[in-house]
Amino acid sequence: MTADGAGRDLILEVRDLKTSIFQSRSVVQAVDGVSFSVAAGETLGIVGESGCGKTMTALSVLGLLPQGGRIVGGSIKLAGDELVGMNREELRKRRGATVGMIFQDPLTSLNPSKTIGWQIGESLRIHRGASKSEQRDRAIELLSLVGIPRPQERVDDFPHQLSGGMRQRVMIAIALALDPKLLIADEPTTALDVTIQAQILALLNDLKDRFGMGLVLVTHDMGVIAGQADRVMVMYAGRIVEEGTTEEIFSSMRHPYTQALLSSIPRIGQDRSIVLDSIPGLPPDLSDPPQGCRFAPRCRIAHEECHTTDPTLEPATATHNFACVSPVNGPRVMEGDRVRLGRRSQEEGASSPKVLVSVRDLSKEFTLRSGVMQRKVGTVHAVSSVSFDIYEGETFGIVGESGCGKTTLGRMMVGLETPSSGTLSFDGVDIASLDRKEMRRHRRDFQLMFQDPYASLDPRMRIGTSLREPLSIQKQGSTAEQNEVVRNLLREVGLRTQVIERYPHEFSGGQRQRVGFARALVLGPRLVVADEPVSALDVSIRSQIINLMRQMQETHNLTYAVISHDLAVVAYLADRVGVMYLGRMIEIGPTDVVFSRPAHPYTQGLLRSVPIPDPAVARRESKDPAIVGELPSPINPPSGCHFRTRCPMATELCAQEAPPLKLVEDGHQAACHYAEEVLGSAAFAQEAPAPNL
């Protein structure tokens, strides 16, 4: 085994790895000449857009390539042994015992019909021939290692009995069973909530240090990388375009791709009026990669030479390499383009604004029924007694973990769900009092923008028909007029009008979300409820859609309600924000106030859990997860304040009495008995990262 500069053992050495996927008509060069190494106790982050070969690189090392995938060149040395060309049986033994893998979705990676103890013991049985009792003992040991409470009882549980966070811990336990030297985690926290993500990342980091493992972290989340990785490798179109220490990549990057990736992510506390950077277009088709620099067609500063010369990795410092003929120097300062903020931002709020949506004591309960007799077995309190106003022209953000009721609230606001109690009035009209016919007519005023535009478009309808559908339902205009409306909107959202002939599957993700957005605007609504508008999109495309939403708000005079679990997106888009926890609205206020001076311990913890895409800040913050435990069941919520089971400040009073929303300062409400103390606590100082980084 060779050692790295610091004298640590190199666990993984990959040299000039080439992996191709052979398809019926073409060969995709998924990984094209990638070299890297991982030392013991080190975390290597691999970042890039989807389709850039990150996952294929990881799968090549693991030998888990999809059908048709083959390593066609290069070398992979695992703990000193060459894997390329090794026979299958030998390979199986070597890999199983040396590498552990953690996948994105813990639900589909676990076998639903076997206990978790059995699944942890499986590799021990295969590789070491361990007996039943040995397997069980080791499983219990591993479960306690990954922080599962009462492992002796839990070892006989089935996957469905565990929450998402717990399942991911079990996956980690399985990966650790054979004391691997290398752990490969492919988007390990993407499917998890931000509070759980913080817990899992802390666990991974702790395990890595304790056992001196190498960790390869594949992710698209720059915040996760900033907080976890020692070194970062940026991949584009199957190649490494830049690699270096985390500090180098984040603060003195040389490749325009790295620069654009970093300046396209919204951050909490940044100047909201500045337009986000974005990378136009899509990564190239790797069955026929372009000549010259592969990033050139999308590059902001590409010149002629870029389209003809293929740049190779060149050193900037001893640890920092990049592949670009016209490198940049450090982060891009975005200042030129500005958009006006939502009309009711504080500066202009002098004249009393008009309330567009007024929600009072709104509740929604779902009854759980079971058996032939449809007996009532429980009630899910999805939304309980929520009150707030949305002013005309503003953007109202709703944040919270999954299962907190934010989607149900959004669906009630557009009339797709009927409230169980309470009132919801739109422009002074109580929606519940309308009869069916009036309701149908009123629907044109409020529209929903869906998370997954693919699912919201009928796969068997051409885009033109789909876009015209709302107009023909509402019987607005002749066919020619309808087509004119559709064409104008398509142009406005940045699509060519010819696309009306296409089917949804013929679009890329970003284009589809543009179509989805256009569809929400066809009827000329006044309120658009956007449910996770960018969560399903790649980083580079997110900023395009966010910019577009901003721009359309101004030209179409829209009021937005943006629902998201991504605090940074809400922080950038919203003028005011409401934080939800287990069906209740626990804090409301202007976005910059709530995010810089939270008055509820939950908001505080949530903000501290968000990974900040700045290594300096991320390293300074303590690595302890800010919120422990998991979301309680909404069928049987805790008494008093719902958050008390996870709250560090909870007292007897919290268990007895549910705190009402009270005003803590101008326009800022919080539902906590100790809101004033939280607000005043000096312990919490949210560092706002430099806005233009």
Partner: protein, 300 residues
């Protein structure tokens, strides 16, 4: 319009692939499956044989001619004669007509009725759904043969009656399938979206549910045809079919089986082969159609 948002013209970066129509994708998938193409050819031949054959090959299929009974194949009777002295080849053609007519009719009837029943049940839900599905359960619990024998003892069977009887049993599984599909479709985002635009239930069913169920339905309908042909043959074999001079392949088979020890192979094999070929071809075609439907979904 301010240029704050970089608009991404289609085709600037990604290749401007010509939109392939769904029909073209479907066709190329189908043609790629050799077995399916062969099956389709076989079916076309059987249809031509049954419906065009009698125009070229004239036989008397009404009069019983005991002088000519059980003749082996000869130049006058290419496939010999039946126990009642009718030309066997001509009888196969006649039997093919009723078999194919019945198969198609049952396929269409059962599918149409199952579609209506299933979508209404699945879309309306609640009490209506419960009642409609219990009706299906009740029908399914009637033993089929008993039902047919009972009917045959009451009424004189005609082809139309048999079509109705077989359809009455066939639509049940289709209705269940369509209901399950509808239940999953009505929670799709695009149905929600349409509802959010103010669409009525009838529009949602007509525009979004039915077109998306159609793929599965075509496959299911094809397989129903094969089932119906087999059932028809079984009924003919048991003598519960349309009385002579009408005939079908099952009935021909049953006549031949009476003479099985005399070695009159021409009374058994041709009918048997035709039944097997037809059912096999229809089934292969159904499988191929399923691939086509799924291929279309995979392209998305």
């Amino acid at each position: 319009m301010a240029t704050t948002v970089d608009s991404v013209p289609l085709g600037a970066v990604e290749k401007d692939a010509k939109p392939r129509s769904l029909l073209r994708i479907a066709l190329s998938t189908f043609v790629g499956n050799k077995l399916a193409v062969i099956s389709l050819a076989i079916l076309i031949l059987i249809v031509l044989f049954s419906f065009l054959g009698p125009l070229l090959y004239h036989t008397n299929q009404t009069a019983t001619n005991l002088v000519l009974e059980n003749q082996p194949p000869s130049s006058a009777h290419i496939l010999g004669t039946s126990p009642t002295g009718k030309d066997e080849l001509g009888r196969l053609m006649l039997g093919g007509q009723s078999t194919l007519e019945l198969g198609l009719a049952v396929g269409v009837l059962a599918t149409a009725f199952g579609l209506i029943w299933g979508t209404v049940s699945g879309f309306v839900g609640g009490v209506v759904d419960s009642i409609m599905m219990r009706v299906v359960d009740a029908f399914l619990s009637i033993p089929f043969l008993f039902f047919v024998i009972l009917l045959a003892s009451i009424a004189r069977p005609t082809l139309t009656l048999i079509i109705i009887v077989i359809s009455a049993v066939s639509w049940l599984s289709t209705a269940r399938l369509v209901r399950a599909e509808t239940l999953s479709l009505r929670t799709r985002d695009y149905v929600s979206a349409s509802l959010g635009f103010g669409a009525k239930g009838s529009r949602l069913i007509g525009r979004h549910v039915v077109p998306n169920v159609l793929g599965v339905l075509v496959v299911n309908g094809t397989l129903k045809i094969a089932d119906a042909i087999l059932t028809f043959a079984a009924l003919g074999y048991l003598g519960l079919s349309v009385p002579p001079p009408a005939t079908n392949w099952g009935e021909i088979l049953s006549g031949g089986v009476n003479n099985i020890f005399d070695g009159y192979w021409w009374q058994i094999w041709p009918a048997a082969v035709l039944i097997v070929l037809t059912v096999l071809a229809v089934n292969v075609l159904g499988d191929a159609l399923r691939d086509v439907v799924e291929a279309r979904l995979n392209q998305r």
